[in-house]
């Protein structure tokens, strides 16, 4: 994956989470059938299309979380003292997201994706480089989750995705603060740069 262009191109970010057969227009049927019954979607026995679509979206989210884990590991070498502690905490939280997504994928009958052998990260030569890259990654994740959220068929998964978005937004605030910038620049958090 060419991460640099991925981060800068909203179209590719949107494509990242767009799964075949789960376009925005088609998703309303899933919402309607899921509405009022968060545990299951009514329908004939057999493979659940909602589950299959959810698995594909969840695996895309898992890819992004695994990349974030790798990024915080790669960036740790440039971090010192209190900022290193922040980086370690955020790494652990991204891992918790990845673990939660993997469980959800397994529960839905899917197979969780695994981390790539290597990632094409930009050169991280200073603490500031790492903090700025982390802000970009977190914003990318927020944008991707917000794009994907309505496409998830199950209410519990939508709620969990929103809880992850809120946590990534908290990360952004701490990272911006560490950079000496406004920690809460916008009333609506959609993953754009400040």
């Amino acid at each position: 994956m060419d991460l640099d262009s991925f981060l800068r191109d909203p179209q590719s970010r949107r494509r990242f989470f767009r799964t075949s057969g789960v376009a925005v227009a088609g998703s309303s049927a899933i919402f309607l059938s899921a509405c009022g019954d968060e545990a299951s979607t009514p329908g004939p026995a057999g493979p659940d299309e909602s589950d299959e679509a959810d698995v594909e979206i969840l695996n895309s989210a898992l890819d992004l979380e695994l990349m974030a884990v790798a990024a915080y590991k790669a960036g740790a070498a440039q971090l010192r003292g209190e900022v290193l502690q922040v980086g370690k905490l955020f790494l652990e939280q991204e891992q918790e997201h990845a673990d939660g997504l993997a469980s959800a994928i397994t529960d839905a009958g899917g197979k969780p994706n695994r981390a790539k052998a290597s990632y094409d990260f930009p050169a991280l030569r200073s603490q500031t480089d790492v903090l700025r890259f982390a802000v970009d990654l977190e914003n990318t994740a927020i944008a991707a989750y917000i794009d994907a959220l309505p496409k998830l068929g199950k209410g519990d998964l939508r709620a969990t995705a929103a809880a992850i978005v809120a946590n990534e937004a908290e990360h952004v605030s701490v990272l911006l603060d560490a950079l000496g910038e406004d920690p809460v620049p916008f009333a609506f958090v959609v993953g754009r740069a400040a």
């Binding site: 925005v24 998703s27 309303s28 919402f31 309607l32 509405c35 009022g36 968060e38 790798a70 590991k73 790669a74 740790a76 010192r80 003292g81 209190e82 900022v83 290193l84 502690q85 922040v86 370690k88 905490l89 955020f90 790494l91 652990e92 939280q93 991204e94 918790e96 997201h97 939660g100 603490q127 989750y145 917000i146 794009d147 959220l149 309505p150 496409k151 209410g155 939508r158 709620a159 995705a161 929103a162 809880a163 992850i164 978005v165 809120a166 946590n167 990534e168 937004a169 908290e170 952004v172 605030s173 701490v174 603060d177 560490a178 950079l179 920690p183 809460v184 009333a187 609506f188 958090v189």
Partner: protein, 210 residues
């Protein structure tokens, strides 16, 4: 690269904010709370539950929007009450004004969305009693820290309400708007928690619960 290769170095903090954050974290660790353990007052939990139930029990997107508008208006009034309390420093007053303005932006957007659905925004303006109905204690605050702790509980209640709404909302744009508002309330929580030296990001999943 494995996480066990990360070396903890005791360097100087790069910014005053980070140093302040770390002091707060260490203080929490000394008090046995630590990351993941910072808890809101136990007395507030029934209140949070009541808010979540009220919010989640409303049926249909319009009903959820009305509940959300009511909650945002209560937050606006709470921040205005805090600003007028005379207890805040100039810096904290600026923060409270920013957050009040954000809540106003949320209320305005939700009102527009409700009207787009053919609904009518609630006519009733909230009172101090309505604030008490969500989180008690604003009337008896005696310090800036009291206000920050109160605001944390109020923002937590809002995050919890939006979290639960994601199970019920149907419209895709409303789901997305709800997530972006919920995430903003979570960012408010970071600033407020730092102000009273609590761990700023205690949970990997910010649900508004502890």
């Amino acid at each position: 690269m494995a996480s066990d290769r990360i070396v903890i170095a005791d360097g100087d903090a790069d910014t005053a904010q980070v140093a302040e954050f770390e002091r707060g974290r260490r203080e929490l660790l000394r008090r046995g709370l630590g990351f993941g353990g910072a808890a809101i007052a136990a007395s507030s939990i029934p209140l949070l539950l009541s808010v979540r139930n009220a919010f989640a029990a409303s049926s249909g997107d319009a009903g959820i929007l009305e509940q959300a508008i009511g909650l945002e208006r209560i937050a606006i009034l709470a921040y205005e009450t805090a600003i007028d309390s005379g207890l805040l420093t100039a810096a904290f007053t600026r923060v409270a004004r920013r957050f009040r303005d954000h809540e106003q932006e949320h209320a305005d957007a939700l009102t527009t969305a409700l009207m787009d659905l053919g609904g009518t925004p609630p006519a009733k303006k909230p009172t101090l009693k309505d604030i008490d109905g969500v989180v008690k204690g604003l009337g008896s605050v005696k310090s800036q820290a009291d206000i920050a702790n109160f605001a944390i509980e109020l923002e937590m209640a809002a995050v919890a309400a939006y979290y639960d709404a994601h199970r019920k909302l149907v419209d895709a744009k409303l789901l997305q708007a709800g997530a972006s508002i919920m995430a903003n309330e979570a960012q408010h929580l970071v600033v407020l928690r730092q102000a009273v030296k609590r761990a700023p990001v205690p949970n990997a999943f910010e649900t508004g619960k502890t």
